[in-house]
Symmetry: C2
Subunit: 220 residues, 2 copies
DNA sequence: GTCTATAGAATGATAGAC
DNA sequence: GTCTATCATTCTATAGAC
């Protein structure tokens, strides 16, 4: 059907333009010109500009989340229902970081689109991210099984900080390169993943397992 | 002068509306209606919608950065040109977190505006953040003085991760509250600051001071 | 210098013909 | 399923009043 062709052409053109120029600077007219379809076709196939953006984002998100859960499940099965905390954290941040950073990926349209989505965070994308909580809860549960002596509060802060480092590295990779004058290698994705995993794991396991916040430093 | 009155009314109305409803949903017409001024007054005083947003953001940013530097300078003077790493990190993330989180601050217009700016990151705000590098470099230098045995690469990653945890906590405070079912207390700002400082300091000081990345965990 | 009234260009959305 | 024509709304720009 010509329908599918038009639909796909719109999706491909939109992803490319959004990746290159961001959501704010790309109009529906830019997209239909790039895809060589009629203006009204966008609203016919997607309903609105926001729903087009949402469709692009969910497609990529689902792929990442599927890979995350695949790695988590494999690790827990191998460990008889309990995986080391580092492996769980690696399953959490690895797929996201591999999907956005790296010398080849950086140039792929999909990767640049996801970086853009991470930076600009327009309403349709925020709405989808807000539905991610159930997905994250599975990782919190796995982390609880890995560190049964840790309080829930500590588990959630560890999960939160792991995501913080991963997403902020994606969002601010350019700034970090500039700030460090190239000393921080943003192309070595595996090293970045291990760095994030290592810091998050240390935060979760260091100190006494009292379930309380880390002791405050006396200096002031 | 009536000038200042109009200008101030626009700024106040804009900050309030942006804080409440975000940048995407508030039009210049909404702002001038709220401020009870003419539409063209916005362009007269600020040039464009983007410059109005930029002015609101720089005002708040300058205040935060000034406080950051004040704390950093005080700490280094007290330590004879060298401050403990925890105090430097506290000067880096403390003012930002105190300005956005906390039970009273959360309801202040300025705080809600800065949270909004952190979440939505529209072009005029991104442009200003990109000029922050020189400011951050001062903290990198102080960190180098505190940890002379650490490589530059480690210093920059530590700085980067500290900012990651602080900003992500501001951006995703609502999600963390939901995810943790209220177990993570987002109102206790001091505890959050110490938590971020503690994790970042541990990441910077743990392990051998070889200047290399932390050893990779063997499990896979 | 400060502000008002108004026009212009561009955008997302839609109704209705084919 | 596709397209033309058109709508309402948006930001921006300017001419001229005070």
């Amino acid at each position: 059907m010509a329908s599918d062709q038009t639909r796909s052409a719109i999706l491909a053109a939109a992803e490319r333009l959004y990746a290159d120029r961001g959501f704010g600077d790309v109009t529906l007219r830019d997209i239909v010109a790039e895809a060589d379809v009629n203006l009204a076709a966008v609203n016919y196939h997607f309903g609105s500009k926001d729903e087009l953006i949402a469709e692009l984002f969910v497609t990529r998100s689902i792929a990442t989340n599927r890979e995350r859960l695949r790695e988590l499940k494999a690790a827990e099965e191998q460990g008889g229902g309990r995986a080391p905390i580092e492996v769980i954290l690696r399953a959490l941040v690895g797929p996201t970081l591999r999907g956005c950073l790296g010398p080849e990926n950086q140039r792929s349209t999909a990767a640049r689109f996801m970086i853009r989505a991470s930076i600009e965070s327009v309403p349709p994308i925020r709405r989808i991210k807000n539905r991610e909580i159930d997905h994250l809860r599975k990782f919190a549960n796995a982390m609880r099984r890995a560190l049964p002596e840790r309080s829930d509060e500590e588990i959630y802060w560890g999960l939160h900080f792991a995501l913080a480092m991963a997403h902020h590295t994606i969002r601010e990779s350019e700034r970090l390169t500039k700030l460090s004058d190239g000393r921080c290698d943003l192309d070595d994705v595996d090293a970045i993943i291990e760095r994030v995993v290592s810091v998050a794991a240390t935060a979760l396991t260091a100190g006494k397992a009292t379930g309380k916040a880390p002791a405050r430093v006396a200096v002031r």
